[in-house]
Amino acid sequence: MRGTIYLVDDDPEFSAAAQRLLEMAGYQVLSFPSAERLLEQQFSKDRVGCILLDVRLPALTGPDLQQQLIAQSVELPIIFLSGYDDIPTTVRTIKSGAEDFMRKPVTADILLSTVERAIDKHKTSQQRRDERAILSANAGRLTPREREVFERIVEGKSNKQIAHEFGSTVRTIKAHRQRVMEKMQARSLAELVLVAHQLRSS
């Protein structure tokens, strides 16, 4: 399974054609005639995929749906598909983080490559998210003193300096350092610094 496509379009013919094409390309396709129907959906955090969204929809419009999804922190990338060029709408949706904005009619190749790119991005961001989750879980296992030692090691301080600062012996600090390396699953100082950077940027 290459990923799940949530297709929201009120035109059944277009939905059928897009579903046919995407299923042929190996995606799982879930088709919705309105934005409200999509919102009834439970989104699993681990499923990769993207949303193909029409702009003009009955009641809740495409851009409205985008805002609601953002509010619900659904991270699926959104590709807009619209019947006419409306620059203000395009700009607004892209600024809100839409993956792409395409005008109907769109060729099969372009649609497929856009969907593929969106799903790849989603996959990458999910992986990164998973990695960060592991890292912060690791960091959560450190004792308060180990955390302090960890911060000073990353700042580039030697065992001696740290021992002096905490008024303890170099041996104790060495032991702390050892446990930090183990818990953070770092094999070298360089790796530990990298982990610290990743933690800080998240």
């Binding site: 013919e13 059928a16 897009a18 046919r20 094409l21 003009r56 009955p58 009641a59 009619p105 099969a108």
Partner: protein, 520 residues
């Protein structure tokens, strides 16, 4: 229709007198006659001699007359009607003779007058002034209904008129200054005693004035006729006082008639100026409305094209994607012919849908001056079809109830479409605050005597202040311009119909468009 606008005269002298004008003219004339009647018994009483009275009054009078002449010539240059030249000449004569008389008047600009003998010369100027003016008016009365001259250029007409007036004035002036001794005398011994000749002249002038008035009365039609008649009425006491009461300079009658003359002079001038302002404001508001109408048309064309784009591109999108699917099936080994059959049939269906869309919107771009056999039901259907997406999006149910036997109406299809589009758009917006299951738009037609009546009813929030919704710039929408309904009403008016708000409350609003049935 525009034809009515074209027929509306563009210059004041050709405007038909309205009831308001007639009433005002009668009031002014009646007031003047009353004042005259009140003064008449005392006309002969001598008051003090105020030398500055004549120069001041007559200079103003002369300026007013010359300004009136200028305005009339200006009107002539817009619409060359020979009658206008005659009346302009009358005012030119009046203005110049009034000023010449002032110059010759003893005790005016000089103790013995600047011109002539200071005795009979001013009297002669008075006679010329009061002869040429009614003669000019008489010429106007006789010429005014003739077709407008096209042979000569308007500029030539104006130049010739002014030149003739000046030559005549110069010749007569020479006669009454250099040759005044050879002419009959008006006064015997003193300026307070009039000769028999003076009396006769005054009666003759009165009759000339009265005759002119009678002729003009029988041919009265326009605003100009009306006020020139009032001017003549204001002049009559002049001669009556002079002839009957044998009134002479510096008596109550004399002062009063001078005052009358000033009123008469300024009357037409003020009417012309007022009417010009009225005409100008009409013109300005017409222009503003036209500009707005154009902007509105552009806006609705924009809305229409985006709706059409959506209607067409959606099936085009499915065709394109299905074509991609078909190509993939073709490349498969072996080709999946059954699937391809389904896909190609879908492509066929979508193409037919595009065609249907184009057919249905074709009417939008049909020649809009196509006046024959249009039915308001068709126009309404087209608008509903165009707004279909918005109506669906707003979850509004549409109920139509059209008259069984549709009647043709005459008019501009695009403009009527705009009217209905505007009302439907307002209805959709009004219903957004209503619960979705209660949103209902009812469009119905019926025939009522000679009218086709279209009713559009919504179940929206209603309009709070119904009094001024048709005024330009009135709006209840935060981002609206408030032009929609004002323009709609103008359009319906032009079609000889009416647009009215028949009901509005918490449960909805109903508009009614009434248009005359076209003659078969």
């Amino acid at each position: 229709m525009p034809a009515r606008e074209e027929e509306f005269p563009l210059i004041i002298p050709l405007m038909p007198a309205t009831r308001a004008h007639r009433v005002a003219a009668i009031w002014v004339a009646a007031t003047l006659l009353l004042v005259f009647a009140a003064i008449a018994p005392f006309a002969g009483i001598h008051l003090g001699r105020v030398d500055v009275f004549v120069p001041v009054l007559q200079t103003v009078l002369s300026a007013a007359d010359l300004l009136t002449a200028t305005l009339l010539l200006g009107q002539y240059s817009v619409q060359p009607q020979r009658g206008l030249l005659a009346i302009a000449a009358a005012y030119l004569f009046g203005g110049t003779f009034a000023f010449l008389q002032t110059l010759s008047f003893p005790g005016g600009y000089a103790p013995n007058g600047v011109l002539g003998d200071g005795y009979n010369t001013p009297a002669w100027f008075f006679v010329f002034w009061h002869t040429t003016f009614p003669l000019g008016i008489l010429a106007y009365a006789l010429l005014k209904d003739k077709a407008q001259s096209t042979a000569r250029s308007t500029r030539m007409g104006i130049v010739v008129t002014i030149a003739s007036v000046l030559i005549a004035v110069a010749a007569l002036t020479w006669m009454v200054t250099a040759r005044v001794n050879h002419l009959p005398s008006f006064y015997t011994g003193s300026v307070t005693l009039q000769t028999r000749f003076g009396n006769q002249i005054n009666i003759a002038l009165f009759l000339l004035c009265a005759g002119t008035l009678a002729i003009l009365f029988s041919r009265r039609r326009t605003i100009l006729d009306m006020w020139v008649m009032v001017t003549l009425v204001a002049w009559m006491p002049n001669f009556l006082v002079a002839a009957v009461a044998s009134s002479v300079r510096f008596s109550i009658g004399w002062y009063a008639t001078r005052g009358f003359a000033l009123v008469a002079s300024c009357m037409l001038l003020s009417v012309l100026l007022t009417e010009m302002m009225v005409l100008y404001s009409r013109l300005a508001s017409a222009l503003i409305l036209q500009r707005r109408e154009r902007a509105n048309q552009l806006m609705s064309i924009d809305a229409a094209t985006s709706a059409i784009a959506h209607e067409i591109r959606s099936p085009l999108g499915s065709i394109t994607l299905n074509a991609g699917v078909a190509l993939n099936h073709l490349a498969a080994e072996p080709p999946d012919l059954e699937e391809m059959d389904t896909v190609l049939k879908d492509i066929e269906q979508a193409s037919l849908r595009v065609d249907a869309t184009i057919t249905s919107v074709h009417g939008l771009f049909r020649n809009s001056s196509d006046h024959s056999g249009m039915r308001i039901e068709d126009v309404a259907r087209q608008v509903l079809r165009l707004m279909q997406h918005d109506l669906q999006a707003g979850q509004i149910s549409v109920v139509t109830g059209f008259a069984d036997h549709a009647h043709a109406i005459a008019g501009d299809r695009t403009q009527l479409q705009q009217v209905i589009l505007n009302i439907v758009k307002n209805a959709i917006e009004a219903m957004m605050s209503t619960p979705a299951d209660q949103r209902k738009l009812t469009v119905s037609t019926r025939v009522q005597e000679r009218w086709v009546v279209l009713n559009i009813r919504d179940t929206g929030a209603g309009i709070l202040q119904r009094a001024n919704i048709f005024d330009a710039f009135y709006t209840t929408k935060p981002d609206g311009m408030g032009l929609g309904l004002a323009i709609c009403r103008t359009i319906v008016d032009r079609h000889g119909g009416t647009l009215a708000l028949v009901a509005t409350d918490d449960h909805g609003t109903e508009f009614e468009v009434k248009l005359p049935i076209a003659c078969e």
